[in-house]
Structures are given as C-alpha cells and as structure tokens.
C-alpha cells in the first residue's frame, strides 16, 4: 500500500491510497467519523435565561460548538466510562461558564473555560441574542464522546473517499472535441499541437460520464483503478485531520487485537 499526500491544510487532508482495497478504506472512513473521541458540551445547567431562546435550544447550540480536543489539549481527560467516578469529576469533564448581560449578541468568545486549552475553536459563533435588561447565566459540562452516540462528537465534517478515475481514449478517436466541451470539471482538453484529446486534471474527474454520453462512437471510456482511492478528511477544527487518521488506525488495530486474543483462546 502506498500513500501520497495531495493537499494538506489546517483542517483538510487529501491523500491517495494505492494498492489497497475498498473494505479497508471504508473501515478507516467509518472509524474516522464514528469512533474517534472528541470533546463536546454534554450537560448544561441553566442558572438564568431571560432571552427569547428556549433553554433546550440554547443547550443544543452549545453542544454543537467545537472545542479543541487534540491530543495535547485533551491529554489529561478520561473517557467517562473509563473514569472511576460515579457521575462526573474533574478527571473526565471540563466546565465552562457563560455569563452575559444584554443588549447584544452572545458569542462563543464569551464562554470561559476552567481549562485554558479546552476552549471553543471559533470565537465568532453567535449563540443567542439578548435584548435590553435580559441576562443569561449558565454552567456547561464538556466531556469526551464518540460520533456513534451523537453527531456533536464527530471530529470530521466531510470524510469520504472516491475511486481513482481511469480514462481511456481509443486510437480511432476522430477529435470531434465534444467530450472536452461536455466535461463539467474541465478534466479533458484538446491539445492543438498534437491534435488529440488530453487528460489534464484526472484526479478532479467525478466519473459523471458526460463525455461518454456525448461521444457518438464510444471512443472514450471512464472506469476506475481497483484498489486506488482519493481520500478526503475535513475536520471541524477540534482535532487536526492527521491526528484523526492516526487515532482511527489505533482504534482499528485495537479491534484487530481483540479478534487475535479471542482466536488464541483468551477473552
């Protein structure tokens, strides 16, 4: 198996996996989305809410706010099920306080966390609006969790792969250029120097087959390379995409280890 990184940004990672297989790529994708732990607000204790927004709506909005949960920030935090406390304790939870008087919009920057590292990723998320003399006061508890339990614990936003496209143009092609005009993503281009259709941006091909449909003699065919995938991981900023991938691989290898110990007669 080979991996080439195609694009690397703060919150987005695009890479190509070669000589792998579908089940493996899908396992990685599903674990990235559903089983990589992240911190999110779970309980909200409303002390005062005089705004027009209902308590539960505000609590839901708070839950969806991404909090920094990379290994450095969340290092000391335990998963609630692995913690020895009964309900919650400082070892497995972080508390955040919101106190604001109107008028004005309350943003995530107004949330103050007891842990300086575990704070909202974005400061500009509007939470609620307060009119003159209205006040909001609440205490929220954030915990680690996984995407399987609630979407707020999903570290990824767009996490997907597609087949690596493979375009073949027959030698008999009459250079009518219809396929190049039909392509919505400008994958094909007519090369005037050599008088032939050229594939200029293969990885951008979405395999829509617009070119195949427009070709009168079926000289062009679109297929995919078996075992090659273009993988995209985009995160909400709470965990860098590389770390999501590393943690997903850890989860997968732990699962494999469990099967091995079972087969060897252990428990």
């Amino acid at each position: 198996m080979e991996i080439d990184v195609k694009k690397k940004q703060e919150n987005e990672l695009v890479f190509i996996i070669r000589d792998s297989d579908l089940s493996f790529a899908n396992a990685i994708r599903r674990i990235c989305m559903m089983e990589v732990p992240k911190i999110a607000i779970e309980d909200v204790h409303m002390i005062k809410n005089e705004s027009a927004m209902f308590d539960e709506v505000l609590a839901h909005r708070l839950g969806l706010v991404p909090l920094f949960s990379d290994s450095e920030s969340a290092e000391a935090l335990l998963i609630p099920s692995e913690c020895d406390c009964e309900d919650q304790c400082p070892k497995c939870s972080v508390s955040l306080v919101l106190r604001k008087k109107g008028p004005g919009v309350v943003y995530t920057k107004d949330l103050s966390s007891e842990d300086s590292k575990i704070k909202p990723v974005y400061d500009t998320i509007p939470l609620l609006k307060l009119m003159e003399d209205q006040e909001v006061e609440l205490e929220a508890t954030a915990r680690l969790g996984i995407g399987m339990d609630h979407a707020k614990w999903e570290p990824t936003t767009a996490c997907a792969y597609k087949y690596y496209p493979h375009i073949t143009i027959d030698e008999k092609c009459d250079q009518c250029q219809k396929c190049a005009d039909a392509c919505p993503r400008s994958v094909l281009e007519f090369d005037e120097k050599n008088n032939q259709i050229k594939v200029v941006d293969l990885e951008n091909c979405s395999m829509c087959k617009s070119c195949v449909r427009v070709c009168d003699h079926k000289y062009i065919t679109i297929g995919h390379k078996d075992g090659d995938f273009i993988f995209t991981i985009e995160t909400d900023g709470s965990i860098p995409p590389e770390e999501v991938l590393i943690k997903a691989c850890d989860v997968l290898s732990n699962k494999a280890d469990k099967i091995i110990t079972f087969c060897e007669g252990g428990n």
Partner: protein, 55 residues
C-alpha cells in the same frame, strides 16, 4: 439565529456568519465572499445564502 453547523455536512458555518453578513451588506458579491471564506460545498453555501435574520 443561524444554525451552528451546516445541516448536511456539519461544517461550522455560523463562525463565518458575521463576516458574510457585513461583507455582503457592503455590496460585495456573495459568491466572492463565500469562496474567500472557504465555504466550498453547496450544502454549506445554501446555509448562509438562504438564511434570513429576523430580529
């Protein structure tokens, strides 16, 4: 209030809401602003374009 995240993909679109509103109010083309903010997918773009702030 704008939803915190894109309803379809989960991108945190509300973080860009104020900037989008201010810049489009000044007469900038929404398309340019959205591209600039890195809101690339059409599911996220419709969240900002179609939102009406009522009060």
């Amino acid at each position: 209030m704008i939803p915190v995240r894109c309803i379809s993909c989960g991108k945190v679109v509300s973080a860009y809401f104020d900037e989008y509103q201010n810049r489009t109010a000044e007469g900038e083309d929404p398309k340019v602003v959205l591209n600039d903010l890195g809101v690339n997918r059409y599911c996220c773009r419709r969240m900002l374009i179609s939102h009406v702030e009522t009060w």
